[in-house]
Amino acid sequence: MSNEDASIIEQVLAGDHSAFGELVTTYQKRLFNSLIHALGCPEEAEDVAQEAFVKSFSKLATFKQNSSFYTWLYRIAINIAISRHRQKKPRHSLDEYRMNVGHEPVDDSSQPDRNLNLVERADQVNAALQLLSDEHRSIIVLREIENLDYEAISDMLDLPVGTVRSRLHRARNQLRGYLEQLVIEK
């Protein structure tokens, strides 16, 4: 764990709760981006990210610091994500989320089609991701989005490295199949 994180945690545990905000600032974007792909819904990713930070604050005294803070936080987030009761509400695409939270559309007037295509493509990839099982999706997100090596994934998911390797391989094959299917349907 980084010295900076350790120092912040020490401050929080000593009573300076506002210091926890530094951890939130440091990791909020990374966690959110990862959760979007893990959950397929930016709104849910935001909710889970918030809940994970609050939970990690409340349990900070139990954090043994034998992994990075982010690894621990991510595990909390994934546990929350898995255990949440999923409302039967339509999942929003990235475009819809952007409009709902009032993001200004990216002004790329020089290449409007390219911009639309990229977002559409991202939506397709996310849709294909959501077709995977929880196990496959989480492992492929950790590898391709979080860029963790097998050892780190093994640690995060509490799986043997061999299982990480075989599961990732199967996840890639499945995802490729879904992507091809989505492209054909479109």
């Binding site: 905000g21 139990t62 690894t71 255990s83 995802l175």
Partner: protein, 297 residues
């Protein structure tokens, strides 16, 4: 060589996760047969698509600027509520600031509300490892091994403590239980038609109890059976495979348990269970305490 295994090797090769000898083998495989290069290219394409998607998402979708404030406000509100309840609660104090120097107990209601207000929630915590049973004495051994996380992988995130089969729990003080020591054995009455356990789950590894498996609880009538029939357990839950694994482990502890997979029919339910969940803070950390009662029908 098995085609699937070859593809797995190439997938790992793409990730740079092969040993030197495996790498040499894959490279010669690819040079000898171009179709393996096509496999590699496919994995590269999937990877590229995901990374592009991540980049686009990061560029076009952002957390609201109020996210940090929202988190800190939630934390702050929780503390305010906690201090209000401290003044009036007799035995229950709740604080998001764990104080390892004090022992505090948390209301079950808080937890039950957190999982969505299901009236009768029965949950089993599992994930453990290295449990040992003592078949001779029909005792349930404490589990001190288990699938922890990271460097703690050798330590259990589930501490199993058995209580006797009588309806009234006769529970040992968890604080006195040595997690890495010998078993905390309690006699199980082999003639009992109910069995009751307490399981302690390390909150550091399982931050939320509702992550676990739900066993359906229909009734708590004590069965009237003259013989000591085996206790049957039926699981109804999405995470059935994990619950089944737990119950197979349970069977090792007590051979009288039989495990049935969910047939989808409630008429096959021949077990009853209930649980209570408490959050316990003690010197070595915080744990969920789950009390599980299995009653033969």
């Amino acid at each position: 060589m098995n085609s699937n295994l070859n593809e797995e090797l190439i997938s790992a090769y793409f990730d740079g996760e092969l040993s030197s000898s495996e790498m040499v083998r894959v490279e010669s495989m690819i040079s000898a047969q171009p179709e393996w290069q096509a496999v590699y290219d496919r994995y590269a394409e999937v990877s590229r698509s995901l990374k592009e998607s991540a980049a686009v998402t990061a560029e076009h979708v952002a957390l609201p600027s109020t996210f940090l404030d929202s988190v800190m406000q939630t934390i702050s509100n929780s503390e305010i509520e906690m201090s209000d309840s401290d003044a009036s609660a007799q035995t229950v104090t709740v604080s998001h600031r764990s104080n390892s120097n004090t022992n505090r107990f948390v209301s079950l209601r808080t937890l039950i509300e957190a999982v969505g207000g299901i009236a009768a929630i029965v949950m089993i915590a599992l994930l453990w490892n290295g449990t040992q049973s003592d078949p001779d004495s029909n005792r349930l051994a404490d589990n001190s091994g288990g699938p922890g996380t990271g460097e703690n992988r050798k330590k259990s995130d589930v501490r199993m403590m058995s209580v006797d089969g009588k309806k009234k729990a006769n529970q040992k003080d968890p604080a006195k239980n040595d997690p890495d020591g010998g078993p905390a054995n309690v006699d199980v009455d082999p003639g009992a038609t109910s069995r009751e356990f307490s399981i302690f789950v390390d909150q550091a590894v399982r931050p939320q109890i509702d992550r676990f498996w739900i066993m359906s609880n229909y009734e708590l009538d004590a069965p009237e059976k003259e013989d000591a029939s085996p206790v049957n357990v039926l699981l109804l839950d999405a995470k059935r495979q994990d619950a089944i694994r737990f119950l197979k482990q349970l069977k090792k502890w007590d051979s009288q348990f039989q495990v049935f997979q969910d047939s989808g029919s409630k008429t096959n339910a021949n077990w009853l269970a209930a649980t209570q969940i408490e959050e316990i803070e003690q010197a070595e950390g915080s744990f969920w305490k789950l009390r599980i009662v299995l009653i033969a029908r």
